[in-house]
């Protein structure tokens, strides 16, 4: 009988519901059923073990090593407590310059991506015909499968002295530097901004737009007062990716950035060139603080539910 009711609900079953009392799986389920907290603990256990103990633990050790120093000749790590590294990181003008440059680039890339992605997502969600919509989503997702390195290198080719851009623009090309870095990073992270905003737009009912128009609002008023507030958490969600991915990038910068240095280049340099892991760890506190602050800020906008 239960079988019938379940089938009516549209739940397809190929066996009668319920198990023989001696079935071990049934016993475990029965045992766990009333114990909410045990179930929670089991569910949460493995992921938390992984993330908290393994990941946070290793992060903790890394940042603990910021308090150590290195032997000046061999570069081996010496376990003696010292605040030198942190002091150096937060007082040296070099690190301040690079940090400011990196954060500015990250914010600029985020803004550019938002500006490009917004009309794209708007079009895909509200204007394009349903058949085209899926194709457009595929079109936006596909570049994610082209290797990040190859895309960065493609921009190197595009911006080369006698490359396609100079051929089209009559010999002009910005060359490799900060501008090229911003363009390339904007390009690389664009799909990560389009997808969340598109998802956000999907949640804006068309009836709202129609109502706004009926009440006499111009399209731009509608966008400003109706759409933007509703879609903003989604934009914030996308910005988490563009901001953090730009903050940590050192490879694309090395390919198109010419002689530009960003924060991650400096960290990598201290780690590999100087073999100075403690100083690299001290430097890594800068992006850590920046990102945690950014995440906390975005959490207030509700972005984390829209990611």
């Amino acid at each position: 009988m239960g079988y019938q009711v379940a089938a009516d609900q549209g739940v397809a079953l190929d066996a009668p519901v319920g198990r023989a009392a001696s079935d071990p799986r049934g016993k475990i389920s029965a045992f766990l059923a009333p114990k909410r907290k045990t179930r929670l603990a089991l569910l949460l256990g493995a992921p938390m073990l992984w993330l908290v103990v393994a990941y946070l633990g290793s992060l903790g050790v890394l940042f603990a090593s910021a308090f150590w120093t290195t032997d000046s000749f061999t570069g081996a790590v010496v376990h003696s407590y010292s605040l030198d590294n942190l002091r150096e990181v937060y007082t040296q003008p070099l690190y301040r310059t690079v940090a400011v440059r990196t954060i500015s680039v990250a914010l600029l890339v985020t803004v550019l991506d938002a500006l490009i992605a917004f009309p794209m997502a708007f079009y895909m969600s509200k204007v394009a015909r349903p058949g085209i919509r899926q194709l457009l989503v595929v079109a936006v997702l596909t570049p994610l499968w082209a290797s990040y390195l190859v895309k960065a290198y493609a921009w190197r080719s595009l911006l080369a002295p006698h490359g396609p851009l100079s051929w089209v623009a009559g010999g002009y090309t910005p060359g490799y530097g900060l501008a090229a870095t911003v363009i390339t990073l904007t390009y690389l992270w664009l799909p990560y901004m389009v997808i969340p905003i598109y998802a956000g737009f999907e949640r804006v009912p068309r009836s709202l737009l129609e109502a706004s128009a009926d009440l006499g609002a111009s399209p731009y008023r509608t966008i400003r007062s109706v759409i933007l507030p509703m879609v903003f958490p989604a934009i914030a969600a996308g910005s988490i990716f563009t901001f953090s991915l730009t903050l940590g990038d050192y490879i694309a910068v090395g390919i198109v950035g010419g002689k530009t240095q960003m924060l991650a280049n400096v960290i990598y340099g201290q780690l590999v060139t100087a073999n100075n892991q403690p100083l690299a760890a001290a430097l890594a506190t800068i992006p850590l603080i920046a990102i945690v602050l950014y995440l906390l800020l975005m959490r207030r906008t509700g972005a984390l539910e829209n990611v």
Partner: protein
């Protein structure tokens, strides 16, 4: 009533400009895969298939591809399990620290790769080495799974939020055990979310280079590491373009299929 036609027209133009921006570099990659000049002179002096022949015979590329696929499958599998478990815990239960979980889960992907990479490298060296587990495919998979969890977590959590618990309650009322309910009621509804999360996780793991550099060993080369080593080499750079071109073309089909199978829901998949 539709949106005003001038707005629609503006949006259409802007959207297509955006798509063009997305695809011009990819078209260049495709062109350079056939470019006769190995330094990618523009306009190309001639077209050739020799790079395709070289890529076909390139043992390095093929083994790197295989390694990447295996790593991505492993990472996706782990991420699916752990991400779903975490999403269930957060969505279906109330407990202290619940809102911190979403912050915690996103941390591996939000922190710069180099920070995660160095941290995991040091951790593996101190914890796994004494146990005899050296660096290799295992450590690569562990590293990838760590930041892939969030992709599955977000998608499953979003879907669970839309699914009320009433179907599951009904199933329980009818006498199904917890496991049966999960397998026959919840899972089918979750399928498209799991699919979307798995697809994104696979893609991210496949393309990841920074964390991989710090968690791999000399003989385990994933595709991005192979590409990085050959990117500027005069005789290999065109082969790299061929590999990339193949990846782009090869990716269109699964992505499209995934979206078709999963239906409208997956089109709003979560990063």
């Amino acid at each position: 009533m539709e949106l005003p036609s001038r707005l629609r027209w503006t949006l259409r133009v802007l959207a297509w400009i955006g798509l063009a921006f997305l695809y011009v570099p990819l078209l260049l990659v495709l062109l350079n895969a056939f470019n006769k000049s190995r330094t990618f002179g523009f306009p190309p002096t001639g077209l050739t298939l020799e790079w395709w022949r070289a890529a076909w015979h390139s043992e390095g590329a093929r083994s790197a591809l295989g390694t990447s696929v295996r790593a991505a499958i492993g990472a996706t599998a782990i991420a699916l399990v752990l991400g779903t478990m975490a999403a269930f815990a957060v969505q279906r239960y109330h407990f202290f620290g619940r809102s911190t979980i979403s912050l915690l889960v996103i941390l591996p992907i939000a922190l710069p790769g180099i920070v995660t990479g160095i941290a995991l490298n040091a951790a593996f060296r101190t914890v796994l080495d004494p146990l005899g587990i050296g660096f290799g495919l295992t450590t690569v998979i562990i590293g990838h799974a760590t930041f892939c969890i969030v992709l599955v977590f977000n998608n499953v959590q979003a879907r669970l939020r839309r699914m009320s618990g009433s179907l599951e309650e009904a199933s329980a009322d009818l006498g199904a055990t917890g496991w049966q309910t999960f397998r026959m009621v919840t899972l089918p509804n979750l399928r498209s979310a799991l699919f979307a999360g798995a697809l994104l996780a696979f893609g991210l793991s496949f393309d990841e280079i920074v964390v991989t550099t710090f968690t791999s060993s000399p003989d385990v080369q994933t595709l991005p590491i192979w590409i990085f080593g050959n990117l500027f080499r005069p005789n290999q750079a065109p082969v790299v373009n061929v590999v990339a071109a193949v990846l782009i073309i090869a990716a269109v089909l699964p992505v499209w299929l995934a979206l078709r199978l999963a239906g409208e829901d997956a089109a709003s998949s979560r990063i």
